[in-house]
Symmetry: C3
Subunit: 337 residues, 3 copies
């Protein structure tokens, strides 16, 4: 079986450039499904061989047959999952890089919590509205994507006031940890049973990353309410003495997934979203079970990926490398759903 | 005509290292005009073939004849424009990379606003002192460079107090948008009619980027007044779903410039300085019509430039590549003034 | 004498990955001494040829004889110095990259201050508890590592209250400068008498880098006390017009060390930890006399190192290159203690 029997494809948003650039660097043909308004932009990149447009991302299932016929391997990312929705995603017939059983454990916040806690990972406390609550808290609607649908509450009065005008009816109330955020991008290969730390980032959130630039005396005037909409990312490295702890967390998440989710468990790229408190402990907010947007900082490689590869290895390219290796070893079925 | 008939030169500050490293990588000879106190430092770089010192940057016109004789192509940057001044710059006879007609539209804040608004770009509201003003506002003196000469005012009393002791008499009063700053570095080639997003950054400003580290209770004590002096830059990437919007803004700025400024319009590197609000909209503060200091982060290439070039392509090197291409195609006059 | 007569070794923490990756890239064999709990992680990197574990870092002297026998050149870093302690470090017999006489001038805060002031460098004022103090101040315990053991005080009452419950008895009281931090990573080669600026960073500190994200109204509720524990680093570049000043500071620190500390003075990597105030002046908080953790951002090279080297040159690799050059020139004794 040869590489050019396959096309690597994805949805035109999120990490599509990285995924398709990486696929092309590894020798694959590439295909993008995107919206008409994004087409001119994506067309400027020579590594995208074909662009299909659809009126809305929710129209994706309509091109499914075409993708199957073209032998496309679809690389899912955050926007793919968000736009397509849980059910549609599970029912798609196009070759899908990843284990769809993981989706059940990620989408349901209670099961996700069970998985992470079973992996020996510390998470912030969660509260029910009628429980005794330790303040401040952050309230997150279910299925919130890109940091929209969050709010902070400093005390009971504040929470009860804000919850009244909060649209979503399904949400979690989480202890708000005062610490610095750091996102660890992992890649686990079932072909080699190796886990790699590819890179790290922090999110760039509007307006919460702007309010520190407004002095105290002015904040009094304008009643700032922080929002957490992710519009970018910036690079970080972690203190090396904490790296093995980060690595071990990733390992345990993989091992536990093999028990809880099924034989294959989680593989490929995933991300632990951490808050680091002054006692140098990680508190895990969430797991993302696929490539995350923060990896876009490292299309030309990261300080960490340089340790494993003497080449410009992004997470997107790592995915294509994995698929190529599997094709060469006749093990592609291990990676697809 | 051969490359070594030309020398790429610039003023020793701002982005000079990037420009001359890029020029050398593309095969040009290089020349730097700088101050005596910077000479020892710049001499440590082997890619700078010749250094001429002048007592002050305002003495630059005195070396003009020498540069003309040496067939220097001068690459302007922010410090060049700031130190030389508008009139002197327009009257220089040395070959100048760029369209000097753009300077008129950039220097005059009203014309700049007209250009950007005609490009369909959203800008913060501006006020006159005698108008009804929506607070908070940021007041910027005309010709303020590097973020000096700015102040914030939270209300009318604050504005009127601060304006009294504010030195500059020409200034704009701008709505202060609460959102995160992000600077997009574009490159437009008239040779290929292609626009590229080279990289992105945010500025590192003292002391405004320090005040968030001072807790509330201490800010009460020390009456912090934010200042916006740019002393560095840090890297960012933008949410990919917003990239085509950023790209389209750049496109429209180029197209509009061809109508407003003249046939060539703006070309080469330019930068849109954006604030991103929680509705994920760009508000444009300013345009810089040449290479900006934020590109110094990417002397070894950026995540974005890696998408176009499988080599370490900085904006400085991109300029030299453009000039080389023009020389090879006998189109150098398209790029010079 | 050949490269493979030597092994480059270090302690498994801090910047060990960078140091050993760089050593391997330059052709050396490599050895790591680390704790059992870090072993599995470090074993994933093929550039580490041998790993020796010890129960605690303080057990390091027990492997000394083995390292001497193997002809290891030990590269010290911040954790090495912190864990081993001043006296043990000075008495170790294994080949040590660096000048141990520098340790005396670094460890003693009064001597360090004398050295920097003699280099014409500006430092924040320091106070004794019984002096008249200008507030706010930051109090730092002696030998504080990684940013632990610091506190801020806004006035006399605050200082006196906090000092009572502060564990350490040896500390300095320093003027708290409101400005942005920037760390400059230098490398000075005695083989060539050249000084290079390798890269720059800022520290990522918990929780002080988180408190700006907590709005004013909420800070009132939760009585935030900032802590300065370093858990990571992020990249910066400096305004180019200030680069020659940064370079000159590094030069003077080297020159002065040759007079104060002895003929060799300081060489190899060191770092000036600066605060930049709105007048664009550097205020130097501290010098680190060896490789700092911020260089971990640049394992694949930095914007600055790319100016000197058309290859992926980290500070760790630069050290190995230096040792290789010294071996080839028969000058290794210049670099070792």
């Amino acid at each position: 079986m040869q590489l050019n029997n396959y096309i690597i494809g994805t949805l035109g948003s999120h990490t599509a450039l990285q995924i398709l650039k990486g696929a092309k660097d590894e020798g694959f043909r590439t295909l993008l499904v995107t919206l008409p308004r994004h087409k001119a932009f994506y067309q400027t990149f020579p590594f995208i061989d074909e662009i299909i447009t659809i009126p809305n991302f929710s129209n994706f299932p309509e091109v499914e047959q075409e993708l199957v016929k073209k032998n496309v391997i679809l690389i899912p990312h955050g926007s793919y999952v968000a736009y397509l929705g849980f059910e549609k995603n599970k029912n798609m017939k196009v070759s899908y890089y990843g284990n769809k059983d993981v989706l059940d454990w990620e989408e349901n916040r209670a099961k996700q919590r069970q998985w992470l806690l079973a992996s020996g990972i510390t998470m912030p406390r969660q509260f029910e509205l009628n429980e005794e609550i330790t303040y401040p808290v952050i309230v997150k609607s279910h299925g919130a994507a890109g940091g929209g649908g969050y709010f902070l509450a400093k005390d009971k009065v504040d929470l009860e006031k804000k919850i009244k005008t909060f649209g979503p009816k399904r949400y979690v109330i989480q202890e708000y940890k005062i610490g610095v955020p750091l996102y660890v991008h992992y890649f686990y290969s079932p072909l080699t049973d190796k886990l790699e730390i590819m890179s790290m980032d922090r999110r760039y959130e509007t307006n919460v990353d702007a309010i520190g630039r407004v002095p105290h005396s002015m904040q009094e005037n304008i009643e700032l309410e922080p929002s957490f909409v992710v519009v970018g990312n910036s690079e970080l490295v972690l203190r090396e003495g904490m790296l093995s702890t980060a690595y071990d967390m990733g390992r345990r998440v993989v091992e536990t997934s093999k028990k809880l989710i099924g034989k294959r468990g989680i593989f490929g790229p995933f991300c632990l979203e951490t808050i680091i408190t002054p006692d140098m402990k990680f508190s895990i907010i969430e797991i993302s079970c696929r490539i995350v947007a923060g990896t876009n900082l490292f299309i030309n490689g990261s300080a960490y990926s340089w340790l494993y590869y003497n080449e410009h290895m992004s997470t997107g390219r790592r995915i294509a490398r994995e698929i190529k290796n599997a094709i060469n070893e006749n093990k592609l079925d291990l990676l697809l759903d």
